[in-house]
């Protein structure tokens, strides 16, 4: 039975996850994730480090395969798709990696232009124009000839983001976009994510444990705990929740008192 069929994208969510399970060795990382993300919405997934947030994000773009469950992107179940079939989905969904994952043998400009080149754009003038537009949006003018090794963490994130959005995907997945950055650069990344959502109507999923980042960018927040979505609601609902676990996470309280 084939379960890959096209549904109406207006009524269906941009991304829907049902019963997603993932084991790595003996460890159960995800134990039945249920998640919906509507078109144009930004969802923040928060949770403890090592809790499976990045693993969940990698499943959404087919970089990891689950042991069970379904992932629907704009009405298409991506679970049974081959690596080549996933290419069409990956043109719609961009990802910003935690470590930026820039190609270290290419300059900043070559990194940003890479998705366009691979899509068949050969005109150097068009490529230059699109790259300089991206550099302007990311406030990276004059850095185009630098190699990734010579960039700071914040610059790498912005180049990574430029590379993800140059092909204008309808959804962007952000893996810890502000981790390891100083508060000012973090704030500029938060504003950038918000701007992309407001100006271009891009759907976003932001995986983070930085609560300031989550509250700044998210329309809804999902709290991942013990391999399941423990809480799902608006930032205001999360703040007003009297659940002990959530309050501990929000306030940064450790469960272990006697260390």
């Amino acid at each position: 039975m084939s379960i890959n069929y096209q549904q109406s994208t207006n009524n269906s969510p941009m991304i829907a996850v049902h019963g997603l399970e993932k084991r790595l060795g003996d460890q159960e990382i995800l134990r039945g994730i249920e998640l919906d993300v509507a078109h144009g919405e930004t969802l923040a997934i928060i949770g403890r480090s090592g809790g499976g947030k990045s693993v969940l994000l990698k499943h959404l773009i087919g970089l990891m395969r689950p042991n069970a469950g379904e992932i629907w992107i704009e009405g298409q179940n991506i679970i049974d798709m081959s690596e080549r079939q996933l290419a069409a989905i990956r043109q719609k969904v961009g990802i910003l990696f935690q470590g930026s994952a820039l190609f270290d043998s290419m300059t900043v400009a070559e990194n940003i232009a890479f998705p366009l080149r691979e899509a068949g754009e050969r005109d150097p003038q068009v490529l230059r124009k699109r790259v300089s537009e991206m550099l302007e949006v990311m406030e990276l003018q004059g850095e185009e000839e630098k190699m990734p090794v010579n960039l700071s963490g914040g610059m790498k994130k912005r180049v990574g983001l430029a590379r993800s959005i140059i092909r204008q995907p309808s959804c962007i997945l952000y893996d810890e976009p502000t981790s390891g950055l100083d508060p000012v650069v973090s704030d500029s990344i938060n504003k950038l994510i918000r701007r992309l959502q407001q100006r271009l109507g891009v759907t976003g999923i932001v995986v983070t444990h930085d609560m300031k980042n989550a509250f700044h960018v998210a329309d809804r927040i999902a709290y991942l705990h013990d391999g399941r979505i423990y809480f799902h609601g608006t930032p205001a609902e999360l703040r007003s929740s009297d659940d002990q676990l959530i309050q501990d996470f929000l306030l940064g309280r450790s469960e272990r008192e006697n260390l």
């Binding site: 990698k58 773009i61 087919g62 970089l63 690596e83 080549r84 996933l86 290419a87 069409a88 990956r90 043109q91 961009g94 990802i95 990696f97 470590g99 994952a101 820039l102 190609f103 270290d104 890479f114 998705p115 691979e118 899509a119 590379r163």
Partner: protein, 265 residues
């Protein structure tokens, strides 16, 4: 009892079979991509420069000194039975059928195979390969196909170069240092060397190129756990590719000898 025997022999054997399967699958995927997807010419030409052009010095030195020492050793033995002038024939046939392909392959493994697995392995552990996939680029198309094609083109040329230099230096050593008569040397060499000898050498070169590129790329693509993993992948790529070349050389010799028999017939 059975469990202990299985653990001792079965598990490594299964792992080995799985490893062979993975390498063969990578090769099948690459050949499929080669015929069904567009070739990235710039990457291919870069790899031809990396594998072919930049290996020149290593291959010339290997061929030259192998030809020189083989010429000298053959002369020392043959001279005792008054067959010194047959040295040229032995040097030429041995370089074409065995020494040229095997020694060039071992040098290319050290120079190119190691760098391929290290480069791809580093891309793997720094999520650059995931980034390629996320940007809708199939890693085999982008990383393996240009390298495989460049290797298939470059290896026969490198081996031909190694053989030519080996024969030339062997001739020089024989004529100027060992005082063999040049006319007899050349006459014997031309008489005993057949076109099938060079075809056999180049066929081996092509097969070794395929072995080297897929073993090295596979090790890079499956590298894990940071810098240590990349180091391990590189070492294993060099060791596995060297063993594969040496072992397959015997079977290639036996098989190709049926098609291209040795000797004056």
């Amino acid at each position: 009892m059975f469990a202990r025997i299985f653990n001792a022999f079965g598990r490594p054997l299964l792992r080995f079979i799985q490893y062979l399967g993975e390498v063969v699958m990578l090769a099948a995927d690459t050949f499929q991509s080669l015929f069904t997807h567009r070739l990235r010419w710039k990457l291919f030409l870069n790899q031809v420069v990396e594998i072919g052009l930049l290996s020149q010095l290593v291959v010339v030195i290997t061929g030259g000194f192998t030809g020189a020492v083989f010429s000298a050793q053959t002369y020392f033995q043959f001279h005792k039975i008054g067959m010194g002038s047959a040295t040229g024939a032995v040097v030429s046939v041995a370089l074409m059928r065995e020494l040229g392909p095997v020694l060039t392959a071992l040098m290319v493994i050290g120079r190119v195979g190691a760098s391929m697995s290290a480069e791809i392995g580093t891309m793997k552990v720094t999520e650059q390969i995931d980034a390629l996939r996320a940007l809708a680029v199939y890693p085999t198309d982008y990383l393996v196909v240009p390298r495989a094609l460049a290797m298939m083109v470059s290896m026969p040329l490198l081996v031909a170069e190694c053989i030519a230099v080996g024969i030339a230096v062997g001739y020089f050593v024989a004529i100027s240092l060992l005082e063999i008569n040049g006319t007899y040397y050349m006459a014997n060499m031309v008489r005993w060397t057949r076109s099938r000898d060079i075809i056999m050498g180049l066929s081996k070169a092509f097969c070794f190129g395929i072995l080297i590129v897929f073993i090295s790329c596979h090790k890079g693509l499956t590298a894990r756990e940071g810098a240590v993993g990349v180091g391990r992948a590189t070492t294993e790529a060099v060791v596995n590719a060297s063993l594969a070349v040496l072992i397959s050389n015997f079977f290639l010799t036996m098989t190709l000898n049926i098609i291209y028999p040795a000797g004056y017939q």
